[in-house]
């Protein structure tokens, strides 16, 4: 170390080194902060602190003194800071307002059993519920209205549906192209094709969404002749466009990193180029192709604008020609109208936290698999 640092300006060097080290920690800090602050806004949902029950027991303002401060704060739906900043008079007038509000609830809701339940409890979020007016228990995401229904299962199904369609479309194409470019194409073809495909990832997703909405939706409807023009199928294919370059570049890297000796040995034994690519190179690089798919999956479930523009109705259906609404779309479309700090807002943040966790896991798996593959291939070289 002494020799490396040279002999002059030691204290300054030391300071600079520490500074550089501290700045480089910012990436860790950011990941940490993202998780912390997205989850922070969602915490009340996890701990069951939100209440959407429309009909509550009315507490007359005169009985204010019988309540503990915590109860009062919850009753008036205030944050601790707001509560602390108010004097007794303000609180009393708020209680009068609250009483009037509760009195104004229409009679038909007053007798509705659904108006008495807290729809942000886990069983309403995850399990089907027989809402009044429906004949059987159903999964419903309907955050606007007197009785807000927050079942997140339709969003999961929608996300999964669109993502899987996208992957079924993108993986064969991208892996096929990766095999062609890395194993079969001539060098000068490769030099042109590879950056061109990577250029596809430079198209902003809002432009892909626009293209899918205006051009592709009509075109695909003519071919397949389905009913709804904008559906999960169109969204999935458009999503595929966005995922192809991701899968292609990782798979191509993995295929190229297979040692030349493998290929040369196979060719020398009389295998054709295709047989070599399919039976020797692809199996050796298979973990890399798998990682490419996993990372493509992470990219696909996080994609927002394409799905937001192409389809948006939250219907609970497994049919690929029905509309669907993904988690990302829901957050993007509804955050603007959600009241800051309200249950809807909190649930959207919770969805964001879940999304973050899902991509975090898929990234980790992808990274680990790729690193192992690299070690293995380098070790054998």
């Amino acid at each position: 170390m002494g020799i490396q640092r040279g002999h002059r300006a030691r204290p300054l060097e030391w300071l600079a080194e520490k500074f550089i080290f501290l700045v480089s920690l910012s990436a860790i800090l950011m990941v940490f902060l993202i998780f912390l602050f997205v989850a922070r806004e969602a915490l009340p949902i996890f701990f069951g602190k939100t209440d959407t029950a429309l009909v509550q027991k009315v507490i007359p303002p005169d009985e204010m003194d019988t309540l503990s401060p915590a109860q009062l704060q919850q009753y008036l739906e205030l944050t601790p800071e707001q509560f602390a900043s108010m004097d007794k008079e303000t609180l009393k007038s708020l209680m009068e307002v609250k009483q009037e509000q509760l009195d104004e609830i229409p009679a038909n809701f007053r007798n509705d059993p659904d108006a008495r339940v807290n729809t942000t409890e886990w069983r309403y979020l995850l399990l089907p519920h027989k809402w009044s007016g429906y004949d059987k228990p159903e999964y419903i995401w309907q955050p606007v209205g007197q009785i807000q229904k927050y079942n997140i299962i339709p969003l999961f199904v929608g996300t999964l549906k669109i993502t899987l369609i996208g992957l079924f479309f993108a993986v064969p194409l991208a892996v096929g192209a990766a095999i062609y470019v890395s194993q079969l194409a001539r060098p000068h073809v490769r030099e042109i094709v590879k950056p061109t495909i990577e250029l596809l990832s430079g198209i902003p997703s809002v432009v892909v969404g626009f293209f899918a909405l205006l051009v592709m939706a009509t075109f695909l409807q003519k071919i397949f002749g389905y009913q709804t023009r904008l559906n999960a199928f169109v969204a999935g294919i458009a999503l595929g466009f966005a995922v192809i370059p991701v899968i292609f570049s990782i798979a191509e890297d993995a295929l190229t990193s297979v040692p030349r000796a493998y290929t040369q040995a196979a060719l020398a034994l009389g295998a054709s180029r295709w047989q070599t690519a399919w039976q020797i190179v692809l199996p050796a690089a298979l973990p890399g192709v798998f990682a490419a798919t996993v990372l493509g999956f992470g990219r696909a479930i996080g994609e927002t604008m394409i799905v937001l523009m192409v389809c948006s109705a939250s219907v609970m259906s497994w049919s690929i020609f029905d509309s669907a609404r993904s988690i990302t779309t829901t957050i993007a479309a509804e955050m603007a109208e959600a009241v800051s700090g309200g249950p809807h807002y909190r649930i959207l943040f919770m969805l964001g936290a879940l999304l973050f966790a899902a991509t975090f896991v898929s990234n980790m798996i992808g990274e680990v698999v790729i690193n192992r593959l690299k070690l293995k291939l380098e070790g054998r070289r």
């Binding site: 002999h7 080194e17 001539r186 094709v193 495909i197 800051s340 999304l355 975090f360």
Partner: protein
């Protein structure tokens, strides 16, 4: 397996292409499958060509100087009077402010990772894992982060600190959108800079150290000037990525309509990508507004693609250098 036998044995001709002569016999299935992978490649290139040509041909007609240099009136769906000046300005400024934040942090992190970090230490591995993870976080989650952290936490606290009567910092603003994008593009800058730092021959560093320069002097005066093209690539890639992103700015600063250009960091702004979203989903008559929609898309594409192609070009040169080093 073989359903078709090769027609006849041809004496092998010496090939002009050196390593690509075909020693193998003609194999039907090999031919088919190779063809399929070739078709997949062609199909992807075809999609790219169709998207680009479609936008270029349709967008060209709507593009005019008037369109680029006009601030639209309240109703920007009107084909004749609308313009994209505030959107171009908004997108440019938010990306520019982002660059100011992301470049120093990204470059310094890359310097640490290549020049200082002990390769085996846990901290280094955690930093690398964090960078990779940051690259994979969905863009909408960055939007939520911007809202939850920058606006609701940092902004609100700044307001309390300065005793602002209303919300000045604690609301969607240019600065928060730029900072959110800076967090999002951090990995892009780090990876590109690291690549270019690795491409610099170790001999240069050793020579500088042998002449008595300190490590910091070596980095500042020898390594960084050499790495400049790579750092520029990183910056350009980050800019082109950020210019097209809409999801992170949805809740952190974009405005549906503003009568004037943004002048302060706490102003909201209009944005090209968001404008494309609005024009294509909320237009009262999509057939009528189609020309301006296409023209807006073309403007955004020109902006991002021009940058991308420059970056790819510089990057190819850096990679060649890297390969020459072995």
């Amino acid at each position: 397996m073989n359903t078709i036998t090769p027609p006849e044995y041809l004496p092998e001709k010496p090939s002009a292409q050196g390593r690509h002569f075909r020693a193998e016999k003609f194999d039907f299935w090999s031919f088919c499958f190779s063809g399929l992978t070739g078709l997949a490649t062609l199909f992807i290139l075809g999609i790219l060509a169709v998207i680009l040509l479609n936008i270029l041909i349709n967008g060209w007609r709507g593009l005019s100087w008037h369109f680029i240099s006009t601030i639209p009136k309240k109703d920007f769906f009107d084909v004749n009077t609308t313009g994209v000046l505030p959107m171009i300005v908004g997108t440019t400024i938010r990306v520019f402010v982002m660059t100011i934040f992301v470049l120093p942090v990204g470059v310094i992190t890359a310097i640490y990772l290549t020049e200082y970090a002990p390769n085996t230490s846990i901290v280094t591995r955690v930093i690398r894992a964090a960078v990779n993870n940051l690259a994979g976080v969905p863009s909408i989650v960055f939007g939520l982060f911007g809202l939850g952290f920058f606006i609701n936490f940092v902004g609100k606290n700044l307001d309390t600190l300065f005793h602002n009567p209303g919300a000045v910092w604690g609301q969607p603003a240019l600065i928060w959108a730029a900072l959110t994008l800076a967090v999002m593009t951090l990995p892009v800058v780090i990876v590109a800079t690291e690549e270019s730092l690795k491409a610099i021959p170790p001999g240069l560093r050793e020579a500088s150290l042998a002449l008595g320069a300190t490590k910091l002097e070596t980095i500042l005066k020898v390594v960084l000037p050499q790495a400049l093209p790579g750092i520029m690539t990183g910056g350009i890639l980050a800019v082109s990525r950020a210019a097209g992103e809409v999801a992170p700015i949805l809740f952190t600063g974009v405005a549906y309509y503003m009568a004037s250009l943004p002048t302060h960091l706490t102003d909201q702004f209009m944005d090209l990508g968001y404008q494309i979203f609005v024009l294509s989903t909320q237009s009262p008559n999509i057939d009528q507004t189609r020309p301006i929609l296409y023209a807006t898309v073309l403007v955004l594409l020109i902006l991002t693609f021009a940058l991308n192609i420059v970056a790819i070009f510089i990057r190819a040169r850096v990679r060649k250098k890297l390969r020459a080093l072995g």
